[in-house]
């Protein structure tokens, strides 16, 4: 199985990287760009075929390691 985990800063948490990227894109002439936020994309290969179990595992991985839930939120996607 393959999964993707998206870890992003919670709404309201300052995202200096996103801010700087937005600024740079505007300077490059992309005037249509408004707010930009940068997060992490983690792609995982998983053994086993039980999707429910995989989801539960991934949730635990996020809580324990992949995200700092004080400032970050996460989203899980099973892709294959």
């Amino acid at each position: 199985m393959k999964a993707r985990v998206f870890v992003t800063l919670k709404n309201g948490v300052l995202d200096p990287q996103g801010k700087a990227i937005g600024h740079a894109l505007n300077n490059l002439g992309f005037g249509s760009v408004g707010e930009v936020r940068q997060g992490k994309l983690i792609e995982l290969a998983l053994t086993g075929s039980d999707e429910a179990k995989a989801r539960a595992d991934l949730k635990e991985m996020c809580e324990k390691l992949l995200a700092n839930t004080v400032i970050e939120k996460y989203e899980i996607e099973i892709t294959a």
């Binding site: 919670k10 709404n11 309201g12 948490v13 300052l14 600024h23 004080v70 400032i71």
Partner: protein, 738 residues
Amino acid sequence: MTAPHTAITPELVREHGLNEAEYARIQELLGRDPNIVELGIFSVMWSEHCSYKSTRFHLKKLPTSAPWVIQGPGENAGIIDVGDGDVCVFKMESHNHPSFIAPFQGAATGVGGIMRDVFTMGARPVASLNALRFGEPSHPKTKHLVSGVVEGIGSYGNCMGVPTVGGEVNFHSTYNGNNLVNAMCVGMAKADKIFYSAARGSGNPVVYVGSKTGRDGIHGATMASAEFNEDSEEKRPTVQVGDPFTEKLLLEACLELMATDAIIAIQDMGAAGLTSSSAEMADKGDSGIEIDLDKVPQRETNLTAYEMMLSESQERMLAVLKPGREAEAERIFKKWELDFSVIGFTTDTHRLVVKHKGEIVADMPVTALSDAAPLYERPYITRAPASGTPEFDATRPVMTSLLKLLGTPDLCSKRWVWEQYDYTVMGDSVQQPGGDAAVVRIHGTQKGLAMSTDVTPRYCKADPREGAKQAVAESYRNITAVGATPLALTDCLNFSNPEKPEAMGEIVNGIEGMGEACRALDYPIVSGNCSLYNETQGEGILPTPTVGGVGLLKNIARMATIAFKRDNDAILVIGETKGHLGQSVYLREIEGKEEGACPPVDLKLEKKHGKFVRGLIEAGKLDTVHDVSDGGLLVAVAEMALASGIGAVLRTNYDPADFIPTMFGEDQGRYLVALPEKKADAVITAAAKAGIYVRHLGFTGAVSEMGEPVLQGVGLPAVGLETLRSAHENWLPSYMNN
């Protein structure tokens, strides 16, 4: 506008950390009930963090002046005169709690905050230090905390381009749920270009510069604030995210503005952001301030007045300008792509008035927030100091113990930490991490600033008064050991719950002991910070009154370092070794006991020995010095050998009964020095003349038959330096990488 109309209930008051008496006092001061914005403002201004309500009374006992002190506590940072028109600005601050919840960001913003305290006074930061305490290595959270905190400190300081040159790292189970992150910043300014926070005058523009305001770190009243804002939790991060890039721009922009004469007063927005900066500036300037929140640059929509006043968004400053200079200032901040907004003006009303959307949402006398803040003389108990001389097994082989000690979490090399910090940027780091004190050259001169952070919490636990004295004495010694004159200290008083008489006793005795040592050593405290309530599930941390010392080295060409320089140097110990094993690292790590009296500090001897050693270094007679601290004599000799790759042979009088205490006892007031044998006699004679105890301990340059440098002596089988080095260097990286 909803916020100001929220009803003030007893629960709401409690959730704001105010007790009944305090609330009654607020009602009295205002002559009415506060609204929610005002309650929030009182709550943060009267918090322990801002008002020092438990410690203010005792902090007065610290000496804070000397002829070279230009600014003592009470401003953003302390200032001392270092001659030739230059001043040194420095302060230390804790970021303990945030660093426990979010180690990377908590530590990073701690560094950012203390740098702002320094550059807001007109100084360019030239060095950073830190003092870190973590729980036991075996605790499941420790590794993650160490890793995040160190990375956070590095990421912020490295990006700012300020070298992180020193610090300390220790581990103890009492910090399992309460790690300590104390960050110190040292800056340099010109004596005629110092900036203060007193917002004097009336009708002067108040400007906001830096980053926009968001809902960052609004403390305390999470539940209460949920009542007047539906999207509560997710919108209300209690930990701030640092943006060192913006801070670097803010630093350069502020220094550029400071080069003009447009500024009347300036202050960073630290804890309690807009609230404390505006209230404190008005208070110091004996004026009032009126601000309009609609003019505050905002990162998010629908910020309430409450949120804006309490936000702890980072990388922001408040300044009062001379009227008519706004455009000039704005040009500078725009050049650096920072927000700039005139948000209000000073008044002569002595009131803090806050407007939002056309309404007055807060209006209170400035003194209600400062002078009228509660002051408690909390009851305290002075515990009897730990006493006695612990038993030990006199048959243990000393070299085996040395090897073990060098590889313990507290005594091992902290290279893994400092190599993550850029300690060479700015091109003035003449003494890098690994010595007794870091030395940074004063740019463009031959003078240097020596700096060190110190405290031995286990001594403070055994005897808070003696332990605090020891912290100051060790700082004095570390600064002296490089050849510098100790000038002044900043402190970070980390203690547990002041509402418990025993803990309060640690605070009171700690402060008094510190004051006594500072007075005796002419080493005043010019800035600092208190961090209380460091306890988890009722267990407090070891009392940890960290001090950060700064000294002046007159000539960097005559600086001493800990590394042996030559073969066949005589190794001398200045100061008497009695063999005090109580509370020593040896006792804890080898015998498994944390007991006995901590080593007493004789402040007269400290001063005398310090003066003697410094005099020799300044006269160019001594280039190799190391103070004797944790681990005692043999550990100190090993550290000198390891720093140089040169071995040593010790002339030990091997008497099993006191061999171990002699080698590992932690008697205070001692220095190890090494110098060519033919110069040693003169030093021994001079010491004898001055009534200073000195002993010829051995010689540098021992090698094995294979030609490998070794450490050896009577009763000390030769051990190769490489064996010692791997014990010393390997513990931390192998702990962190596994």
